[in-house]
Symmetry: C2
Subunit: 158 residues, 2 copies
């Protein structure tokens, strides 16, 4: 299950009738608990059968207590969070630093925070700080994304 949430800053509430507009300081979030079925499906789709994701012995040899979820699968929370609130958003770049392992069954929360917003012709170039957490405060992935947004109106998707 993936849940999506938007934690807008207070300026977004200046009028309850106006569309909510993305501002620096907002936090877009989503979360997902990764199952062994997710790991298997992702492996079958990408043919990434690194035994680190299946073999407890190899995982322990590599310093992990159990098999871990593919980093790129966890990172997919970032574009998914951006696209959920901005239909048609185009991904320009993403940096990913894999800080901690995600074990099967763990819930990960992705936080996407705009740090720079710039209009470019009829679109907006948005730079986001992107982080994934587990256990509330353990950073799993740290990085930055740049995306082209069709506008700054936040779709709630509810």
């Amino acid at each position: 299950m993936i849940a999506n949430h938007l934690i807008p800053n207070l300026r977004s509430f200046s009028s309850s009738f106006a569309p909510r507009i993305l501002h620096i300081g907002d936090v877009l979030t989503s979360s997902k608990q990764f199952s062994d079925q997710d790991v298997l499906q992702f492996s079958n789709l990408t043919l990434d059968f690194n035994p680190l994701h299946f073999d407890p012995h190899i995982a322990r040899q590599s310093g992990f207590r159990d098999p871990i979820v593919h980093g790129i699968l966890v990172a997919s929370l970032f574009p998914r969070t951006i696209a959920f609130h901005f239909a048609g958003a185009v991904y320009v770049s993403q940096s990913l630093q894999f800080k901690s392992p995600v074990y099967v069954g763990e819930r990960v929360v992705a936080e996407v925070r705009p740090v720079q917003l710039r209009q470019n012709k009829d679109r907006y170039i948005a730079k986001f700080a992107t982080k994934c957490f587990k256990d509330r405060e353990v950073v799993v992935i740290d990085g930055e994304a740049v995306a082209l947004l069709p506008n700054l109106e936040i779709i709630d998707g509810k």
Copy 2:
């Protein structure tokens, strides 16, 4: 279908009985043709339903001739290529610049080239230049990856 190839530099052939050792100058490659089923499966797995991947009208509004494959799905070729040749490789970081769209049905070739190899205790820290191409020369994704390798012996996986 994903195909995997290793284009070793000539030093790797110094003995046909010795294991092939990764060197600066080697190129690890794999390729994949992305189908609409791949896009649908990836969307269902990650819940990234950006209409850019399904809706021709939204895709054209965003400057593409057709719906495009998720960038992170294409990027999964990089860890998959590294893991194919180094079982138990641990992904440390990846940067991704999405340069050109990948349309459904297009074949993408990933090239992973070691640019720095350093021993760290009983493992190796490898920095790779990572690029995806389509139509032989069109760069789709450009970036860099760092991975911890258990050793430098290349598994051919044949």
